[in-house]
């Protein structure tokens, strides 16, 4: 494994920053540095899905990555960060202003090379629909913490259908009050038990595969 990827995986913050500076000085293209970081983030995700890392470590890795991206931004010269793994529209549904889970998923998706359009919190169904239309994204992620949002999630899925996008867009729900029963009620395609499971579902959707059983569960 690349040394930088390894440092990020091990949450060795100082070493990550030192290696990034060293590579910039050596003239390594920013895109290459990002690639190594992505490798590190994928490794963090794997540690999380096998219960060796926890949310606090996911959040810390995301913070380190954010700092690296900020440092590299001026060096990207408006260029893309490399080929995108696909576009994902994500947001917390109307009536709910919580965003911890959504932010973790967003960072992990970006760390895995996805182009993420994060609409924030308290997002109305119409905004999800118009953004899906504009972006052509094939995945919609709906997040919630409060259990009274079940009808609102269902409302978004129905709005996507009413806009004629239902066969083009896969809908994933996630967040504390979600489970398979809630997925069935809302009509969403998938329920992601945690952030890493959500990223796997996105990857499989864009790879053309079908994640198993309509849901993606973390192995215990």
């Amino acid at each position: 494994m690349d040394e930088l990827a390894q440092a990020l995986r091990d949450l060795n913050e100082k070493k990550v920053y030192d290696l990034v500076e060293e590579r910039i000085t050596r003239g390594v293209p920013a895109v290459e540095i990002i690639k190594a970081c992505n490798e590190g983030m994928v490794a963090v995700g794997e540690l999380f899905s096998t219960c060796r890392y926890f949310i606090s470590q996911l959040i810390f890795s995301a913070e380190i990555l954010k700092a690296v991206m900020k440092r590299l931004e001026p060096l990207l010269q408006g260029g893309r960060e490399g080929p995108s793994a696909g576009a994902v529209v994500i947001g917390t549904v109307k009536g709910d202003i919580h965003d911890i889970g959504k932010n973790i998923v967003t960072t992990l998706l970006r760390g895995s090379g996805f182009q993420v359009i994060d609409l924030g919190v308290d997002v109305a169904a119409e905004r999800f629909v118009s953004t899906l239309k504009e972006s052509g994204a094939r995945v919609l992620g709906l997040s919630a913490l409060l259990n009274f949002t079940y009808p609102e999630m269902k409302n978004v899925v129905e709005a996507v259908a009413a806009a004629g996008l239902r066969d083009k867009v896969k809908v994933i729900i996630g967040g504390t009050p979600c489970n398979e029963q809630v997925r069935q009620f809302t009509g969403a395609d998938y329920y992601a038990q945690d952030a890493v499971a959500g990223v796997s579902i996105c990857r499989e959707i864009y790879a053309g595969g079908t994640p198993p059983g309509g849901t993606q569960q973390k192995e215990q």
Partner: protein, 454 residues
């Protein structure tokens, strides 16, 4: 109190207390910590619940008469005008910032900076006044201004009024429908004090990696502050537990939990238990890797609410022989499920987690707002069918346990009486007559100050 209501009250309280103490009783109590369903069951909006105490009380009286089988109904929710008086920024409220039918929501910000730990540790009260209160209480943003001083005055008056509203509600529920409380008084684990309203989630996790020793020192410093506030707000008769929702533990690795969360949290609980209280701990999220620590506290003293993500069957095996468990029905079951599914789930819970007692049925610490009434009824009917133990046992409340509040390292007052007496150059009459109310008001003001961190 009418004789029949007194009898009902004693029966319900006795049943609840017996379950907490892991002692035999007649049936599984129906005693969720928060009953959101009751607040809106008769059609009140969430705004009315927090702004109109009379409407709120009437709604709950009506709920208790419709579902007399429930054993407790919570009262220590907020009275929103107390928040408005000081401009508390950490909540969005229904009818003020949110639609009147939505539930209130917590807004997390970085109200304490990463480099302010030393200030907090050196002098917490000074830190609160100089840095933290002006940031979190909008009306105090210009310390020393007339508006700011008036806001503190209004805040103190609102605290007294809140106390009166809650006391009245407790008494009316007791005398008119024989309903006890699930808990009174409230605290947070010291780590959650830092994480919720001071550093925020991202901030606290960065601190755990970047300045771990400061986080530990701050948690230690907060132990007595938290315990003092909890005791001040608890039921003086010690009939029901003091409540602690645990917010951030579920995000921590077991090593981080052992380092940052548990030691100071345990110290607070030890103080409360030594003082003769029980604790009701809402173990938010999945505590599966953490809850073994509950074995370190005295048996039957900490009622553990197992959340939707937790595995209550595993909890029964791990700690159920030592602490009472509550929960087992998912939010989605109340909201989306059918009465038949509810009946099956309750049967399963009573036959497993309920075996041998020490079990309270409910959701993950609450009954949700949008619970279907038929599901709630099905839960009750199933408990009456499958949740019976020995019907010859007649539940009776315990007498208030003795207990001693441990002496704190320094008095929880800004201006202790000794200092004031020195300033007066002594008093001419009976000192106790002056000293006692002085200290009472000082203590109340001190609690007012600290309640905002909870």
């Amino acid at each position: 109190m009418a004789e029949d209501m007194k009898k009902l009250f004693d029966e319900r309280l006795g049943r609840y207390q017996a379950a907490i103490a892991l002692e035999p009783t007649d049936r599984v109590p129906i005693a969720a910590g928060s009953n959101y369903f009751a607040e809106v069951y008769t059609g009140n909006t969430n705004q009315e619940t927090i702004y109109d105490p009379e409407k709120w009380l009437q709604a709950e009286l009506s709920f208790c008469r419709t579902f007399p089988e429930i054993d407790v109904l919570r009262d220590n929710r907020i009275w929103a005008p107390a928040f408005d008086a000081v401009g508390l920024k950490s909540y969005k409220l229904p009818g003020r910032d949110l639609p009147p039918t939505d539930q209130f929501q917590f807004v997390e910000e970085e109200y304490m900076k990463a480099d302010e730990y030393d200030l907090l540790i050196a002098d917490p009260v000074q830190f609160l006044f100089d840095r933290w209160l002006p940031r979190i209480l909008g009306e105090l943003k210009e310390p020393g201004s007339v508006r700011s001083s008036i806001a503190i005055l209004k805040g103190g008056m609102a605290q007294v009024m809140t106390g009166q509203i809650m006391r009245n509600r407790t008494m009316v529920l007791e005398t008119e429908v024989g309903m006890p409380q699930p808990m009174a008084g409230f605290f947070l684990a010291p780590f959650d004090v830092l994480a919720d309203s001071m550093r925020g989630l991202n901030g606290i996790f960065m601190d755990c990696f970047r300045q771990p020793e400061k986080v530990v020192a701050a948690c230690e410093k907060l132990v007595e502050e938290v315990a003092n506030t909890a005791l001040a707000l608890a039921d003086p008769l010690k009939r029901w537990p003091i409540f602690v929702p645990t917010h951030k533990a579920c995000f921590l690795s077991p090593e981080q939990f052992d380092t940052f969360y548990w030691p100071s949290f345990k110290k607070v609980m030890d103080i409360l238990i030594d003082a003769g209280y029980t604790v009701r701990a809402y173990l938010e999220g999945d505590w599966g890797l953490h809850w073994r620590h509950m074995l370190e506290l005295p048996k039957g003293k900490v009622l553990c609410d197992i959340d939707n993500q937790g595995d209550i069957f595993k909890a029964k095996k791990d700690i159920g022989h030592h602490q009472c468990l509550a929960g087992g029905i998912k939010d989605s079951q109340f909201i989306l499920g059918t009465p038949e599914e509810m009946r099956e789930q309750v049967k399963l819970l009573c036959e497993t987690v309920g075996q041998g007692g020490g079990y309270i049925i409910g959701g993950g610490c609450n009954f949700p707002y949008t619970t279907k009434p038929e599901n709630f009824r099905a839960m009750i009917d199933a408990v009456l069918e499958y949740g019976l133990y020995d019907t010859h046992v007649k539940p009776r409340p315990k007498t208030a346990p003795a207990g001693e509040v441990r002496a704190f390292r320094y008095p929880r007052m800004v201006t202790p009486w000794d200092k004031k007496r020195a300033e007066l150059g002594g008093v001419t009459g009976d000192e106790a007559l002056i000293r006692k109310p002085w200290e009472m008001l000082e203590a109340m003001a001190y609690v007012w100050l600290w309640q905002w961190v909870l």
